[in-house]
């Protein structure tokens, strides 16, 4: 709940600097949370390309990360879902060819993570 500006403080015209929506966290919309099982992932990027909320971060890894079947995956790899923005639509889980993502109720996921 940020302080709202007065009319004297507005920019000229109705203009905004780029990408300010990063300050608006849509993660709170989630009812279901994607649980990413890295050991089942083949880093195929299907989930990344479909994610409508750009909520699956990726990285370039030279040393590689362990994935499905204990294999080492190098190059572009997917990381854990960014829960700040993920709305929990479940497309990633549904489209994952390796079934590396499962959806659980947000409240349960939260309590599970508290216990951890």
């Amino acid at each position: 709940m940020t302080e709202r500006r007065t009319w004297q403080e507005l920019e000229l015209g109705v203009e905004l600097p780029a990408a300010t929506s990063l300050g608006y966290k849509t993660g709170g919309w989630r009812v279901l949370r994607p649980i990413f099982n890295a050991s089942e992932c083949t880093h195929c990027m299907i989930c990344v390309s479909y994610c409508p909320d750009m909520a699956i971060p990726i990285a370039k890894s030279e040393e590689g990360v362990a994935g499905k079947g204990g294999r080492l995956f190098k190059g572009v790899v997917r990381l854990a879902t960014n829960l700040d923005y993920c709305k929990g639509c479940g497309i990633c889980a549904h489209e994952c060819p390796s079934k590396a993502i499962s959806m659980v109720r947000e409240e349960e996921a939260e309590q599970a993570s508290c216990k951890l």
């Binding site: 109705v14 905004l16 600097p17 780029a18 990408a19 300010t20 929506s21 990063l22 300050g23 608006y24 966290k25 849509t26 919309w29 989630r30 195929c44 990027m45 299907i46 990344v48 390309s49 479909y50 994610c51 409508p52 909320d53 750009m54 909520a55 699956i56 971060p57 990726i58 370039k60 190059g75 572009v76 960014n82 700040d84 923005y85 709305k87 929990g88 639509c89 479940g90 497309i91 889980a93 549904h94 489209e95 959806m103």
Partner: protein, 314 residues
């Protein structure tokens, strides 16, 4: 041709031209479509959005999800605004006031394209402005809750042409925007769908590099108003392609090319099932609607195959 990995790098992180924090419905594929199309440009992209889902959810003041120059004016004029931007671009370059090369992208939903923005689009195509027009087609006015548009399919239940005791929903087939655009003799028109990222990316690349205007129509299943579970957006898009309800094809310099030919065409029921807007078609008395729909789809497909075979310039 880039890999899915390379596309992912362009759509995620600091260089992405559209970023997280937008307020599209959970499971709405517009985000995937737009990020993929934007990634396909090798130059900075200036975007103009028509009023609609995309515009409303990406720029609720003081938040914007755009990480590239973007503007919105009104509902029906994205193509005219793009004309003005392109004119400004040409003259400011000619006069040495700017030096950066850019691509211009106009985006609208089917309401802003097939219906109210149709004249502006036709005018801009006829004048040969160099820009790409992207329509994310969710087959109705989904931003305002499922009203009928010129892109709504035959048989669909909408709030303005509801199915009722004496109505099975929309009695007309949708207009063929791709062929109408191609009739302007522009060099690139294509139909794509959200489920096929590589195909969409390639088409966007071709559109951006076309000589003159290009039109890209992309099917976008709407979880909210077609009413299916938010995880099934991609599945419904696939079914639309596999039933030939939404063929993937392109018209390049007038020559038709079908990109995907389903080896085993699925029946249209597979696509209709589970969507609230078609639920009434499965009730007794409406069997003929599905039969008619199937026939229309098959006829259209046969016609498209003939167009491709003929090699005649569109």
């Amino acid at each position: 041709m880039p890999t899915l990995q390379e596309i992912a790098l362009k759509t995620t992180g600091a260089d992405a031209r559209i970023v997280s924090g937008h307020r599209m419905c959970s499971g709405c594929g517009i985000g995937s479509i737009v990020k993929t199309v934007l990634a396909a440009s090798d130059k900075p992209v200036v975007v103009v959005s028509a009023t609609g889902c995309l515009e409303v959810v990406t720029t609720i003041y003081p938040f914007t999800a755009w990480n590239t120059p973007w503007m919105h004016l009104t509902f029906e004029n994205a193509a005219s605004v793009a004309s003005g931007i392109e004119a400004a671009y040409k003259v400011l370059k000619r006069r040495g006031k700017i030096d950066e090369e850019v691509n211009i992208l106009a985006v609208g939903g089917d309401g802003g394209t097939y219906d109210i923005g149709f004249q502006a689009l036709s005018g801009a195509l006829e004048r040969r402005h160099k820009f790409m027009y992207l329509v994310y087609d969710n087959e109705g006015y989904m931003n305002t809750g499922n009203q009928r548009s010129g892109a709504t399919p035959f048989g669909a239940n909408t709030t303005t042409v509801p199915a009722g005791k004496v109505s099975f929903g929309k009695p007309q087939w949708r207009k063929n925007l791709v062929e109408i655009a191609a009739a302007h003799r522009i060099s690139y028109v294509a139909q794509a769908a959200v489920n096929n990222t590589m195909d969409l990316y390639k088409k966007a690349q071709k559109g951006f590099s076309a000589d003159g205007p290009a039109v890209l129509a992309v099917l976008q299943p709407c979880p909210s108003n077609w009413s299916f579970d938010s995880s099934l957006t991609i599945q419904y898009s696939k079914l639309a392609v596999e039933t030939n309800f939404w063929p993937l094809y392109e018209i390049e310099n007038g020559i038709v090319h079908i990109n995907t030919k389903p080896s085993n065409r699925k029946p249209i029921e597979d696509f209709l099932k589970g969507q609230t807007r078609f639920r009434h078609l499965f009730r007794p008395g409406n069997e003929h609607v599905i039969v008619e729909m199937q026939k229309m789809i098959d006829d259209e497909w046969a016609r498209l195959l003939k167009l491709e075979e003929s090699g005649i310039q569109f």
